[in-house]
């Protein structure tokens, strides 16, 4: 325990001057409506570079970009830094596969009631995975909020006086209105955002059903936005209901149609968690050999997400998961880490 405020500047990973980002956007983003559809291998190859700072949409293990994570693992893109901002399955998989060397952590290393992640803990405890800084779930949200709004920081009263704050990139100043301390969280501009959505058009306009967690801000903050969509629909369908658009086309760099792209996790109002597959992963995760075998079987051993879906049980399983989400079938026993 101890205050490390003087090390703050070393903890400014992901921060950039908003003016530099304005210039980046001017050069790399466009208001032209371009057909951004592509394949997942191509999108990952183009957008995700060795050593990149990556962040995931959804939250916890809900609406996770699983298909995209698999492809990053297949392409063996390494030395990644992850914004562990409350995401669970996605970054645990990626880190368990060895693609991640650094993380900024709000919440990681566990999957709520399913328990702690052994491979991630082992990686952190052995030093293979370096934690760059600590923050909170709200803190990561607001770091992205600042980035999405052209601000270099976002103020909050959260975590004042804690080591969480001391081991973060935040700076505490005196609020000139109250005369009291206030924390300024540094903006965070990830290199890549992976976001899975319910439907998108070919230009990248996206609809998300249910909660959006941090995706709105993330999509506006990241430099390369890779959308996987359950379904790519006609532009006209999106255009006639602009109030349902949660991510506008101009922030998006690639759109890939990937049905059931967040299996074994929930896509709200579409399909539920696959507890059987979760159990398989949790059991596998108990040993390094199990982890290796899991990736051989389900990731390296599959060409694409359709092949993966066949391996996990194909249409029969998917159909069951849809029924569960629509409450037509009782929820099965929840998988938890054993031992």
């Amino acid at each position: 325990m101890g205050n490390k405020l003087n090390e703050n500047d070393a903890r400014l990973y992901g921060w950039e001057h908003p003016d530099d980002i304005r210039e980046f956007r001017l050069k790399n983003k466009s208001m032209l409506k371009k057909d951004k559809r592509t394949t997942l291998p191509e999108a990952v190859k183009r957008g995700v570079k060795e050593g990149a700072y990556v962040a995931f949409g959804g939250m916890g293990s809900v609406r996770s970009s699983v298909a995209a994570v698999h492809e990053v693992i297949r392409q063996k893109i390494g030395d990644l830094t992850v914004a562990a901002k409350g995401n669970q399955y996605d970054w645990q998989l990626l880190a368990s596969a060895g693609n991640v060397t650094k993380a900024e952590v709000a919440y990681g290393f566990a999957d709520e009631i399913r328990g702690l992640s052994r491979p991630l803990r082992a990686a952190a405890e052995s030093g293979r995975l370096k934690v760059l800084s600590e923050t909170t779930n709200a803190g990561f949200q607001w770091r992205l909020t600042a980035a999405s709004k052209g601000l270099s920081f976002y103020p909050t009263k959260s975590a004042l006086g804690t080591d969480t704050s001391g081991y973060s990139g935040a700076k505490t100043i005196t609020d000139p209105f109250t005369g009291e301390p206030i924390e300024l969280l540094p903006a965070c501009f990830p290199d890549v955002a992976f976001i899975h959505v319910h439907r998108a058009d070919k230009y990248g306009n996206c609809q998300i059903d249910g909660n959006i967690a941090t995706d709105f801000e993330l999509a506006h903050a990241a430099k390369f936005v890779l959308i996987t969509a359950e379904e790519i629909v006609d532009h006209e369908i999106i255009q006639q209901a602009p109030e349902l658009t949660k991510i506008p086309y101009f922030v998006v760099d690639a759109v890939v149609e990937v049905p059931y792209g967040c299996h074994p996790n929930q896509l709200p109002r579409a399909y539920s968690f696959d507890e059987d597959h979760w159990r398989e992963w949790l059991d596998a995760s108990l040993t390094d050999e199990g982890v290796e075998k899991y990736f051989e079987e389900y990731v390296y051993g599959t060409e694409d997400h359709f092949e993966y879906l066949e391996k996990i049980g194909g249409l029969k399983v998917i159909n069951e998961l849809e029924k569960i989400e629509h409450r037509q079938t009782p929820y099965p026993k929840v998988a938890r880490r054993q031992g």
């Binding site: 809900v62 566990a110 709520e112 702690l116 405890e125 709200a138 080591d163 969480t164 909660n211």
Partner: protein, 252 residues
Amino acid sequence: MPTQVEKMIVAASRLLPKDTAVYVGTGMPLLASALALNTHAPDLLLVYEGGGVGGKPAGRLPIQVSESLTYDDGVIVGSMDYVMSLAQAGWIQYGFLGGAQIDKYGNLNTTVIGDWDKPKIRLPGSGGGADIASFCDRNIILMQQDKRKFVEELDFLTSPGYLTGKGAREEAGLPRNSGPYRVITQLGVYGFDEETKEMTLLQLFEGVTLEDVQEHSSFPIRISDDWTYVAAPEEDELATLRGLDPDGVVLG
């Protein structure tokens, strides 16, 4: 006979007033809140970190704070920004917390055992914990009590309790009148002394002794002059509780 976990959840549930909002995580907090919702507090507003406000879990318990069950038939489907802002603005008076370590001022560690740079055990990190601990007026901490968990000094101060004692939260800039309210363990219910902000035993579960309390803590625990026993769970509380978690996700 109620289990320890059931007794803890019932005690937590009773602390929730009927006209308030509560920030819930999955597990015991959710079950305690759902119990209150289905007994004395039908308007209790459950708020989830994923953005769900007011979802009333039915049939089963959400296993993720971002899943659809957290807002189906609820009040509003927001974002993390929204629910965290609600808390910072004071709309969510109650919150639930847990931890691997707690000190006498109710500060919590959920980040690391050992040195941060070379962790012996890496824990999940703050998550929304430090946010809830900072923003909510009355936080309820649910955890098992033993000497490794009730410590003199935390390995890492993840979420703020009363920091170094009375006045320290205000001095740090945290919202006025916020902080930990109760700690509930398998042994009893603790509050924080108004003058010193030190953890103080208020209630014991039946069968537990004052000696048990001390033996399960590395720091001395103050005992309230008028401590009592926690009233045992009512039959209908237990029945409702068990009905809310038919698969034993939390209750085992």
